[in-house]
Amino acid sequence: MRVAMQRFFFAAGPLVGGVACVEGGPGPEETAAAAPTRTPTAPVWSAEEAVQHLDAALALGVPEPTHLAAAYAGAVLQGEPACPGLGTSGATVPGAGVWSAECETASGWGYSGSALYEDAVGEGSRTIRITSSFTITDPDGGRFRGGGEVLYASTTDASGTAWTGQVGGEFGWSGQPGWLGAATSEALYLVGTDAGATASLRLDGGVSSVDATLGFTGLHLDSAACAGDSPVASPGRLHVRDPGGAWFVLDLPGDCTGCGALSQGGTAHGEGCVSLAAVLDAARGDP
């Protein structure tokens, strides 16, 4: 028993009183925490600047799986039979298949790396998967980076389309308009519906672009429940990160507006408003 005690005691750091005195949380041996000496991280941006950056970034929309898949298919179809040598066995959607290459076509498209693109369209359903590590260069000097995984699954009936999706990794194509041209890294989880006249979208995760890094926690837009450009239908959060790594948080109460309480590091900074119209466009997928 003595040996066992010593072992645990040291694992927990007995020289300063033991982890039980330091940790918080609901662990059974954890008690009140001793506050670490900590220097507050001062934000680089003012609250106004944070809202401006957030609004500008949201105006580009957010990465969405079907749009990304369409862009990818368009790029890979610029290739030649031997470059990148797309293997399309069993694929029914143009651009679907697998390749691994290091080549350039006569028309100036370059393919480096590898990718698998599956796109299964059934009766009332569609599933997409892109697993990739590629760089495609276009003749205009644009660089299409794809390192990660894109997932999408939808069902469609008379009421519309319901879908879930994920964009995780580094996806972006410099020189393209909108989010595709700006985004550099994503970790987005999306749930959407598209009923024609109305649409909804729930967003979690984040996206980095050349100008801003955004985060979403339970952001829920629903044009059936709310009118207006920013139909925030239930409480959620938007985050924007300044160059020093400080996060500003906009708490949206779900009152059918893009306005909410702004804070940084637990300090309130009044109210901020943003437009979410372009974000909701993601719910409708690739036109």
Binding site: A12, T41, G148, S185, A187, T213
Partner: protein, 541 residues
């Protein structure tokens, strides 16, 4: 046990007990000098240094102080820390070719990635910066290879290159300052488990000496797996909560290193700031430091450096490195004194190293006659040369470095023998052996043979301008000459830091004569050197 721990919290911290003297005998001054030199410079003492301490044993202290400001200390600390950080892995999820490097750069790529966090920590330690910088520094260290493949820029304002060409640099991918924790090398080693939990556990273990894997929890893995909702179990099943309640919020602060495609070179080389907000979605929690909310990952370094366990853990880590054994409860009083010295020096590691080398534990050369029998199991009165020490010292003595196809044979297990010679081979083997064994003897045999042949060829069969070992003989010298006996004594001192007595010199001369008769004087000298390198007095210290 829980009751005891909780009661412990209610009591004020007891003052440190006065350390009691260990029942050990100290090393003789020349052997202490050898130990210090190997630990602090990675080299054997020179003959002039041995002369100095033979004349005045107290000269060891001044020589130790020069070692603590020697540029080689930084190189040596890389190896000391490597035994604990375990970042020198032979393989990562991406390879050199994916970064556009030549196949010939494969070893350099692997070694560089694994050494990055070690180089940073060693730089902070050797340069006397407060050790808290290991958790807070805005810099890393990089060599030319890493500067060419990772999002890094050199930071010449922070300092010059070290002896191996590593120099201060900073990341350009928006990652927060955070010292070792925020380096790619550390993340590559520890970020592959689910949602950065492994990364968080490593931070806790290495910098707080709080090892989640050592917690005394018991659970039935099969029944948890059968539930199918492991993520929910981490928040609901008490035995799971006991670790995940604090581990997961720490992991949430490290999600900027989470990868969606572990085989994509850019995805794994870049920090992803947008993933810092993923905690609620993938872990069900927001970033926090043991119950204290973290406003951002940028605050993590300060939280770590300010944790009351951080400084005592640093003392434990460096004590483990120089004492060459894990510390335990019986070390409490000595460690407490070391902590006082460390804090008095504003957490400058050289001061801690100086204090450590003054301890009975460090200077132990044998057990006292009245030593309890259990002491022999705890105290390392002799230490094995580690794989990197062995490689460096053999090269110092003979000029031989065991390299095959660009791979250092004592620094990898792809086409090398690091594990066989007793080194850790992470992630499959994380333990540096502290006892001699058969595989180690086999590697030493081969190493000694090739090293001895190399130095004999270079210094006796050709004219070396500055011989390392053979300063007083040539191939015509025989045991009948006075120079022969003098050369053997020089070898004894250089290789073992000991003077050989007449009988031992006679044994070596007899070995020389027997081999010379069969294979000539070059083979004879090679046999003598090889025998000395295989002797315990060379490969332990």
């Amino acid at each position: 046990m829980i009751v005891v721990l909780l009661l412990g919290c209610a009591e004020p911290a007891a003052p440190p007990a006065t350390p009691t003297a260990l029942a050990v005998t100290p090393l003789p001054a020349p052997l202490l000098l050898r130990r210090l030199s190997l630990d602090l410079r990675g080299t054997l003492p020179t003959l002039a240094e041995l002369d100095a301490v033979e004349a005045d044993p107290d000269a060891v202290g001044a020589l130790r102080d020069t070692m603590l400001v020697d540029a080689r200390l930084q190189e040596r600390l890389v190896d000391v820390l490597a035994e604990q950080y375990l970042t020198r892995a032979d393989r990562f999820t991406t390879d050199a070719a994916q970064f556009g490097l030549d196949e010939a750069d494969t070893y350099a790529f692997v070694a560089s990635a694994g050494e990055e966090p070690l180089r940073l920590a060693a730089w902070i330690a050797a340069s006397g910066q407060p050790w808290t910088e290991v958790a807070r520094s805005e810099y890393t260290l990089a060599n030319d290879l890493l500067l060419s493949i990772w999002p890094l820029e050199a930071a010449p304002e922070a300092g010059d290159a070290d002896l191996s060409g590593w120099r201060p640099a900073r990341y350009t991918d928006a990652r927060p300052a955070g010292g070792v924790v925020m380096t790619n090398g550390f993340a590559w080693r520890y970020s592959q488990a689910v949602y950065s939990r492994s990364h968080a556990a490593a931070v806790s273990d290495l910098f707080l000496c709080h090892d989640y894997f050592e917690r005394p929890v018991e659970f039935d893995a099969a029944s948890l797996l059968a539930q199918g909702e492991l993520q929910a179990a981490t928040r609901e099943v008490p035995v799971c909560v006991s670790c995940h309640a604090s581990l997961d919020p720490l992991a949430a602060a490290l999600l900027g290193f989470y990868w969606y495609e572990m085989y994509d070179p850019e995805e794994v080389s870049h920090y992803h700031p947008e993933r810092e907000t993923l905690g609620p979605y993938v872990l069900g929690t927001t970033p926090a430091w043991y119950g204290q909310p973290l406003p951002s990952t940028a605050a993590l370094g300060d939280a770590l450096a300010g944790d009351p366990r951080f400084v005592p853990c640093a003392v434990e880590r460096f004590a483990t490195g120089l004492w060459r054994r894990p510390v335990d409860a019986d070390d409490h009083a000595v460690l407490a004194e070391l902590q006082v010295a460390f804090e008095a020096a504003d957490l400058a590691v050289p001061a801690l190293l100086a204090a450590l080398t003054e301890t009975d534990e460090y200077r132990a050369g044998g057990l006292a006659a009245d030593a309890p029998s259990a002491l022999g199991d705890r105290v390392a009165t002799r230490r094995l040369l580690t794989a990197p020490q062995l490689a460096d010292v053999v090269e110092q003595l003979t000029g031989f470095r065991w390299v095959e196809s660009g791979w250092d044979q004592l620094d990898n297990d792809v086409i090398g023998y690091r594990l066989m010679v007793g080194g850790a081979s992470p992630p499959t083997s994380n333990v540096t052996e502290r006892d001699h064994g058969l595989t180690r003897a086999l590697v030493l045999k081969r190493l000694a043979r090739d090293a001895a042949a190399t130095v004999v060829e270079a210094e006796l069969e050709t004219d070396a301008p500055a011989p390392r070992l053979f300063t007083g003989v040539d191939l015509d010298t025989t045991p009948a000459d006075d120079a022969f006996d003098a050369q053997v004594q020089i070898l004894c001192r250089q290789v073992w830091a000991e003077r050989c007595d007449e009988a031992e010199r006679g044994d070596l001369a007899a070995l020389w004569s027997a081999v010379a008769q069969a294979d000539g004087p070059a083979a004879a000298w090679a046999s003598v050197v090889a025998a000395m390198l295989r002797d315990t007095r060379f490969w332990s210290y």
